[in-house]
Symmetry: C2
Amino acid sequence: MIDSRISLAHGNGGRFMRELIEELFAAHLGNPGLDVQADAVRIALPPGDVMFTTDGFTVQPLEFPGGNIGSLAVHGTVNDLSVSGADPLYLSLNVFIEEGLEVALLERVIRAVAAAAEEASVRVVAGDTKVVRRGEAAGLYLATTGIGVRPAGLELGLGRIGAGDRLLVSGPVGDHGTAVMLAREEFGMRGDLASDAASVHPLTRAVRDLPGLRFMRDPTRGGLATVAHEICRATGLGLRLDETAIPVRDPVRSVCEILGYDPMYLACEGRVVAAVAADRADEALARWRALPSGRDAAIIGEVRAEAPRVVLHTELGGQRILEELEDDPLPRIC
Amino acid sequence: MIDSRISLAHGNGGRFMRELIEELFAAHLGNPGLDVQADAVRIALPPGDVMFTTDGFTVQPLEFPGGNIGSLAVHGTVNDLSVSGADPLYLSLNVFIEEGLEVALLERVIRAVAAAAEEASVRVVAGDTKVVRRGEAAGLYLATTGIGVRPAGLELGLGRIGAGDRLLVSGPVGDHGTAVMLAREEFGMRGDLASDAASVHPLTRAVRDLPGLRFMRDPTRGGLATVAHEICRATGLGLRLDETAIPVRDPVRSVCEILGYDPMYLACEGRVVAAVAADRADEALARWRALPSGRDAAIIGEVRAEAPRVVLHTELGGQRILEELEDDPLPRIC
């Protein structure tokens, strides 16, 4: 039986590590593809273009309203595959565990990995565990690497965006950043906000075959403003965003006003930003709004043949330049 | 220009992070497949069975004779693919960096990643960077995830091992563990030992088509003794090892005697253990010995229809049971 707290011996390649892997990881993630005895696992891939991505997770606290680092690690990589146009299929999971971590917490995280993977129809087929000294790793870091397959010939990318294209977002921005921030004791605030962390695969699958779809991205670290900057930098074009059109939940707006944050820069973990040809924007919007996760989708801006900067047109008729993020307002959000 | 030390802002998704990625990671790892702007990258795969694996790296110190955490992270995952019978093709790289790490050290590590990847003919096509607070991550943790392709129908595994099969090792054991140990100031010893860390792909490719090849594994954490235990546990058979046949370098033996370590349990990072049908063992040995990295290869034992334990037959005619590793003699070795 494994103890109630993780010790360094759980990472040494011997009996304790084997028991931890068998009783915890394999028990929850177990599937025909997860062979904890093998050095590498064989994966079957359907026809199409094979897509590959990876992401690391160091969120603090490890658990927050709407999820934990485990579900976040699955959603994050599932979403990177999804916005590339792929169907996510397989994940690997790296776990860096701090000596002394409660096994019960680790188990909640691994359960959340399993639940999020099942919901997104991906399988965790490879993994590795390292245990590090007390004081390192802030409890737990994760990394997930994903493989998916997208329809052959589907081409999406920043380079395909042109002047006149419309920008859409699939739902309210800033929920994840705000929920994690409120879960930190340092802020002394509690709200009923939950992270938006979820698979965006239903959203991306709904529009990926739409002619005129140029590019999709999930606005995580640095939020919507950072995706907007990436578009300007890659295209050399300007971007006009309409502040009144950008969906922001009231509690997110209130918390941001009190604490001095700008929701444009806060991370989402279950939203998609898409650039779509002007004459297809309404159809993309309709497809998203037909889905539960897209019912608050909106057309929020337009790419313009102007200097490459992000201009926010405000409610009162003014203009505000959204600068590129420098200092991080909210570190360790994912 | 990036500063001389990593700050938290290098991990926030904004300008500092972009500059770090462009000036350091992309500059060294840059290749047609590494698109630092994309959420996921398309990879081309030749025909065959697709193999997938992942590993995390927390070695201390970060640099040691014969390598650093970067080269180790490439070799480790290349080797897990290789012993499965595959040709390693693609890697992803996760980097967890401690705030305050010297950029010069990080650059040496990334250069080593690039050099080891080139040597092994794999391409680093996806990556992610996280910066964590001072005091966490002991400077740097890495994770690498690999994709390879092996000849269709090639089947290797613990389950294929039977009584009478011979066990081979491709070279001396314990070099990596000893070299890293000596690099720790706490031991106050210096030697001319270097880690054996290297790609084992030439070794595995040389024998993977040999009829009678049952199983290959690289003896990393827990060393040769741990692979031996894995064979006994999976097969329910006994394993007899011949101590005089197991290659151990003299300086490794000396250091182990002085400090009280057993080289059977020390990590290798560039060796292969193989189980081969008795009538093919000589041919496997000859193929390995024809390679520079296999010139000290040896047949070291035999699987026997006995109780599932590892019995070491010693130089003096005695027998010693090699127990399963419990406490880790040398943590943070990989």
